[in-house]
């Protein structure tokens, strides 16, 4: 069996159903082996599109995403996607081609030191130097990528290794003395946590992406209901707690709800669950949860105590830890606290001004939320539209937001939506994009059309790089340096050029009919070009490096 055939066989053993890959010189042997394999292969139009699609597939399904790129530029085009998956803890295995072993280090054609380049942005990586190592390395790669705190793993295959002959035996288990994640929470710490929770009067749970990765949404709901603790979400954690639930506070942080930020700031107990105290969440660290004890539950011990001091640290898998906690959970005396929060909800709801005849971005997203009943997978790009989506789409179910949180990668949305739709063919997949972001990977419209994917693309078109413009307006005296996108393409024609459906929407009355029409189309993507008002800002907003209860509320009520 050749090295390339071994790779294919190993992928089958790992039950890989779909690969997102782009061929090239160094991976020719692998593509020859794939020609006969019964693994679905999706070819993007750019390697970056391929890896973001694998990432979107992984987030939507919970399975490990797999992508392939050739050596040199193919591999370096994966770098943004790898960093993106690393920041958001997405399980990915990236397979790259490399120049033959004897040419490594000679600056050969299409040579790049991709293991060196990706060392700081992968959970682990490998350069294969012997065909015999292939089965073990692939087994380990999938194990490392998908267990503990998930993340991307890269394997670099020199071309001659792919062509070499060897004996294939797939290992049944992995033995790595340097990698042993902790899954069960420490009993003593859990008892301490439950004592602290019982004594709390103003508790708040903050649920992050770890809850979704662990599949712990049921346990989170139970703990919150039994103990009567309100729940706020990070961007990555949206969908882990139903937004329509009376105890939901929506998102916190820079563009979080006023009531979430007030509740967190005034809490006497902050329970961080599968979240990592990112600066967009905490604002000014020194004034974050000033009067609260902190319980932090995470599978990655390095996250605990990294940004803020913790009173009760619990390392473990969220689902297991919450199950352990529920057994001992009692109702907190939080009634007064919850009614205070309900008052804030009344007083400071998410809102926006809307004059007649204006097409507002928030309105578009509200209507998408309404027409889908929260029952859709929503991919986003990065910027204002992403924050409006987090605010105005009612995320009810896990794995329904597919968004680049940590790295903030513009151009992530379209390929990620493709991956999500391929992984979940029966779900409605929306992409909410900006007119800036969509242009960073719009070539993937070809992939979506070719694969007959009925993705509904809503471009929130304000003719600006809106979020940067907003910061220029607020903090740089409206000096709109290089943020105008006045000369964007005609997105309707662009859609049609690729064989997709294009619809332009310029008034509020046209929004619902356009969405209804889009929902009818089942065999190709629809691009809806929403020409919204151009200088709308995202509010609430906490200015950078301010405490999160110092909030700009904008023009809204």
């Amino acid at each position: 069996m050749t090295g390339a055939q071994m790779v294919v066989e190993a992928l089958k053993q790992e039950k890989v159903e779909v690969i997102f890959g782009y061929p090239g010189g160094a991976v020719l042997p692998l593509y020859d082996a794939l020609y006969d394999a019964e693994i679905r292969h999706i070819m993007p139009r750019h390697e970056q599109g391929g890896i973001h699609a694998a990432d979107g597939y992984a987030r939507a399904t919970g399975k490990t995403g797999v992508c392939i790129a050739t050596s040199g530029p193919g591999a370096t085009n994966l770098v943004t996607g790898i960093a993106n998956a690393y920041m958001d803890s997405v399980p990915l295995v990236a397979l790259t081609g490399q120049v033959p072993l004897h040419l490594i280090g000679t600056d050969a054609f299409q040579e790049a030191d991709i293991t060196g380049i990706t060392m700081p942005i992968t959970k682990h990586n490998y350069l294969v130097k012997d065909v015999k190592e292939i089965p073990r390395m692939i087994k380990e790669a999938f194990y490392i990528a998908s267990t503990g705190r998930p993340g991307p793993v890269l394997i670099d295959f020199p071309r001659d290794i792919l062509a070499a002959e060897g004996f294939f035996k797939y290992p049944e288990r992995v033995e790595m003395r340097g990698y042993k994640p902790t899954y069960s929470g420490h009993g003593g710490q859990i008892n301490r946590a439950m004592r602290v929770i019982k004594e709390a009067r103003r508790p708040v749970i903050c649920a992050g992406g770890g809850v979704l990765i662990s599949g712990a949404q049921q346990e989170l709901l139970q703990l919150s209901e039994i103990a009567q603790i309100p729940v706020t979400n990070t961007l990555m954690g949206l969908g882990s707690f139903p937004r329509s639930h009376p105890l939901s506070l929506g998102m916190l942080g820079m563009h979080g709800t006023v009531y979430a930020n007030y509740a967190v700031t005034q809490s006497d107990l902050f329970i961080g669950v599968g979240m990592r105290f990112d600066d967009r969440v905490t604002g000014k660290l020194e004034q974050f949860v000033p009067g609260a004890k902190v319980i932090h539950i995470d599978i990655d011990p390095a996250e605990i105590g990294k940004n803020i001091p913790v009173n009760v640290p619990i390392v473990g898998d969220i689902k297991r830890v919450l199950t352990q906690m529920i057994k001992k959970a009692q109702k907190c005396d939080s009634g007064e606290w919850i009614s205070r929060i309900d008052q804030w909800k009344q007083e400071f709801p998410l809102c926006y001004d809307c004059a007649e005849k204006e097409l507002k971005p928030q309105y578009v997203i509200e209507q998408i939320s309404k027409i889908t009943g929260g029952n859709a997978i929503i991919a986003t790009d990065v910027g204002q539209h992403q924050m409006w989506t987090a605010q105005f789409f009612s995320f009810e179910k896990p794995r329904t937001i597919i968004s680049s949180g940590g790295l903030g990668t513009m151009g992530y949305g379209l390929p990620a939506a493709i991956g999500a739709q391929i992984g979940c063919p029966d779900e409605t997949v929306f992409l909410i994009a900006g007119d800036g972001s969509i242009q960073m990977n719009s070539q993937e419209l070809a992939t979506a059309v070719f694969n007959k994917l009925p993705i509904k693309v809503a471009i929130i078109n304000n003719r600006y790089l809106g979020m940067v413009r907003q910061w220029q307006e607020l903090f740089y005296e409206r000096r709109y340096s290089s943020t105008s996108l006045e000369f964007g393409p005609d997105f309707v024609k662009l859609a049609e050029a690729y064989g997709a459906v294009g619809i332009r929407i310029t008034t509020a009355e046209e929004v619902v009919p356009a969405l209804e029409r889009a929902m009818e189309i089942k065999d190709k993507p629809v691009i809806m070009d929403f020409l919204v008002v151009s200088e709308e800002n995202v509010y609430p907003m906490v200015p950078p490096a301010s405490p999160i209860d110092q909030i700009l509320r904008g023009g809204g009520k």
């Binding site: 293991t115 682990h124 340097g178 042993k180 990655d300 011990p301 390095a302 105590g305 390392v315």
Partner: protein
């Protein structure tokens, strides 16, 4: 404050890069790093001197632990340890200065390991302070070249770092 970490790692290509890269990426400061094989040939031991407060060191240890090739980390800072560093120093030495240099070397239990017409190489081992003091004295004669190994440490007495299995590791 300076901390001494003994880090047991897989003896594989690229491991030093992973460890060193992690320090620079996370903004930790390495004072010195010494690497060599251990009594178990597939494992290497890195002795790392790192500057930082307790929180920083805790982060350093936790982040290092996340590297798949790192098997075990021991913080030797507050342990009773034997510490050594080795330096080779080439000093300018006209024939008439040799006697004085030899005497000086003896005081520091250093060895003269190479002699040429107008220079000699001294080998000295000891803790960091001793090496510093010796270097200062030799400067007076004119140091042409100096190479140091970085510090290595072992715990005194019955304590030792068990190589296999014992270290708690986390993903």
């Amino acid at each position: 404050m300076k901390h001494v970490l003994a880090v047991i790692v897989e003896n594989k290509p690229g491991v030093l890069t992973r460890v060193a890269g992690l320090f620079s990426r996370r903004g930790f400061n390495i004072d010195s790093i010494a690497v060599g094989e251990t009594e178990v040939p597939e494992l290497s031991r890195m002795t790392i001197l790192v500057e930082g407060d307790e929180n920083t060191i805790e982060q350093v240890i936790k982040q290092l632990n996340k590297l798949v090739d790192v098997v075990k980390i021991s913080n030797l800072t507050n342990e009773s340890t034997v510490n050594r560093e080795l330096a080779l120093i080439k000093v300018k030495a006209e024939p008439h200065m040799r006697a004085e240099l030899t005497q000086l070397a003896e005081t520091f239990r250093a060895k003269i390991v190479d002699v040429s017409l107008d220079s000699l190489i001294v080998e000295v081992t000891g803790d960091v302070e001793k090496l510093k003091a010796f270097e200062l004295l030799l400067r007076h004669f004119g140091i042409q070249e100096l190479a140091r190994t970085g510090k290595i440490s072992l715990m005194r007495g019955v304590k030792y770092i068990k190589m296999n299995g014992e270290g708690r590791k986390n993903g």
